[in-house]
Symmetry: C2
Subunit: 515 residues, 2 copies
Amino acid sequence: MVSLPTESHESMSISSQNPMEPDEFRRQGHMMIDFLADYYKNLGSYPVRRQVEPGYLRERLPETAPNNSESIETILQDVTNDIIPGLTQWQSPNNFADFPSSGSIAGFLGEMLSTGFNAVGFNSMSSPAATELESIVVNWLGQMLALPKSFLLSTDGSSGGGGGVLQGTTEAILCTLTAARDKMLNKIGRESIGKLVVYASDQAHCALEKAAQIAGINPKNIRAVATSKATNFGLSPGSLQSAILADIESGLVPLFLCATIGTTSSMAVDPIGPLCEVAKMYGIWVHVDAAYAGSACICPEFRHFIDGVEEADSFSVNAHKWFFTTLDCCCLWVKDSISLVKVLSTIPEYMKNKATESKQTTLSRRFQSMKLWLVLRSYGIANLRTFLRSHVKMARHFQGLIGIDTRFEIVVPRTFGMVCFRLKPSAIFKQQRVESGYIETQTNETNAKLLESMNASGLTHMTHAVVGGVYMIRFSAGATLIEERHVTEAWMVVQEHTDTLLGALDGTILHEIVG
Amino acid sequence: MVSLPTESHESMSISSQNPMEPDEFRRQGHMMIDFLADYYKNLGSYPVRRQVEPGYLRERLPETAPNNSESIETILQDVTNDIIPGLTQWQSPNNFADFPSSGSIAGFLGEMLSTGFNAVGFNSMSSPAATELESIVVNWLGQMLALPKSFLLSTDGSSGGGGGVLQGTTEAILCTLTAARDKMLNKIGRESIGKLVVYASDQAHCALEKAAQIAGINPKNIRAVATSKATNFGLSPGSLQSAILADIESGLVPLFLCATIGTTSSMAVDPIGPLCEVAKMYGIWVHVDAAYAGSACICPEFRHFIDGVEEADSFSVNAHKWFFTTLDCCCLWVKDSISLVKVLSTIPEYMKNKATESKQTTLSRRFQSMKLWLVLRSYGIANLRTFLRSHVKMARHFQGLIGIDTRFEIVVPRTFGMVCFRLKPSAIFKQQRVESGYIETQTNETNAKLLESMNASGLTHMTHAVVGGVYMIRFSAGATLIEERHVTEAWMVVQEHTDTLLGALDGTILHEIVG
């Protein structure tokens, strides 16, 4: 046992103030708004990547919680000194890593409101506003995405069939997978759970694997179907069918397909229509994960990427990725929402006489829909399309800059706001008479060095992916504060670090090979 | 297909302003702080329970999202008119329903910071501050709870064995249950998943049932072991053992016990030590769910309620319930944290070279630990104990008031901040020569009428539970803004509505029976 902290001088420090005293709330709240406004104002000049090594914080913080209260001024000083340097500045206009984490004023204010009310949305009777606002705004977004009627609320507002809900991130897949699982097990018997098989391309997000592990799917029955450059790493319906047939041959039961619109690695798009055609032949539940790219589909010119969604069973978009709501806000639409309710609902007595249908993994839910409502209203459909198009335009701008420099190549065709590029082998090897496997390895390593060197500068931040054996640098434009000049500056950082790196290599790799 | 909203006048309304423009952030942020400060100031005068009927919102909101932007002023007006009346005012000092949803200034500010940074905490390399602050502050709280060393970080900060993490709510049980499941299946073979059995008392939170359903446990193998008034509805080790033995007899495999400290219905406390003794004989994973009552155990005088925790495998407290952090913030400590990592981790290439151990169901995590850090520092251990004790004192005050009025009785002994009471049969039936089953039914119905009548007034808000066939009204003191006068006022509401109700009954039930 750890001994309890001493209480000797406790009485000295006890504050008589209520921890939610409204005037103190006002004072400290205004201080925090100014703190964050200043942070946003200066964010472009912060190093984007963390400036510390893992393990740094333990040395800076005390070993135990303080016995007495500390002032908000002291705490904010520590946030500046100890926390900010340990964060990737996700909101920085110089952050082009991963996917965007796109905040906005409206999203922030919506989060303030839901935190302020702190209403626990575990059922619709307790706070109808929370439950109803959620189904209304998710329906609004569904309309903006031109989702088929089967995914939307019926005109009288009932959710008998289709409907949308907000989820955590991995939870959207977990909920639909468990719904599909129990629907199937009700047919074939629970003892067959070990036979269920889950499919996705080898480019799908690891959230599927995680969800399948949690839902009790045998890890051996998670199929990462191979993709290739021929389909730009989209899942081929033929490959899917072969995998399904092989499983049926082995006595297994195909259950669930997760198709992706805009994969994390390279923004690959799985062809939903043809995949659904295959899946439906075998009674497979098709979930379409459009976590990032789904947002863009509110623009008519991008909507075709989700053509065929009417044949799918469920569809999700992470509004916190590229739709200006802060973490987390995953929108999920399901045709057969009853199957979700069946697996996720329980009705204890202390909730009786209240509507207790549940479509989430969790009970104590925040009032998540508030921020989505504020984002949709504060900006309106027209501005939201403009914002998204501006990010795509910036990616196109970056792509154009890459195109001018013959040392680089675009590895996969750009869609949406992401550019996947690399230093070409020809920029690294002046003569290519060496073995090609060696060239690919060295090219990958050189690109990795280039990325690390750029990120270490703190001036920009990108991440990488390896697709088809090729290491590529991912440039993802979507941070809300981004302007064209940030893209141009990022390109200058790329060039500068390339010059330095290739200059240094002249004396090493190239020398070795040529010599 | 739903047709896309028209774009005809789109260009008219497009704002050229960046949706995170710092000065506009500042302006709107200050406005929101004032809005919420005013809300808190007036909260005591708001009707506590929603003032609308479910389904109300659809009639008030437009059918589609607006095409053009709307001002924050308009939106806040709608929040006042359309949202607040549809909410239970969880933070109201007159709210004694369910469990508290205890916000605080520090919790709110912490949430502002994490929303403001909007850092995605999917791995420790991306933002070491987020990962490390989490393990540090959860460790602080673990020390405050005097958890055994096996649940805490080792002195060098490594998390090889035990350690704490933040979770969603149901997720804490879901994560530990899946970890226990896979540990067992690795021993006995995956094909035995259908044999696994999960145990809890019939008073346990429905989160366990939900988690078990998600994790693929056969719903027939979820045991709600009966409790009785003899143990104040705590789980008896003998009953647990009988249930286990019966299952083993039937060829099933006991897997997981969820013991509860402070049940939702009646604040029952399961005896952890003796239960662990039984469970350990059969290799069962013991999770201790101290969602609400765990907070109080930072006070030495309440610590004995979790005696025996050193024998358990995992332990959780929902800091958003009664520890001044807003939704959601569930602290989970696990002895064998590696087993959590095993079932919840996946390592895709785009995360390689980064620490990607995961102990949560979700990947896109908010920076949840910030608010817990602010709460611990802003108030300090001494004040936190004082706050919790003051809520217990208020429950004791209410209990005292009940004790004076002979029409009422306390149904189960009060522990922590909750009082379970009811109108006694003798207050309803002047002569009890009628059949006792009839009396119990009528007593339950009369208490239900009393509760509904009080809640409909909007002056107070309590909820109910039925334990051992007895309908009781739950008075739960823990809203942060609560003062002693609110308790006294609530008692006056109880008395007033009792007078009216019993007065009306004089002409009906009593007349019928006596006549």
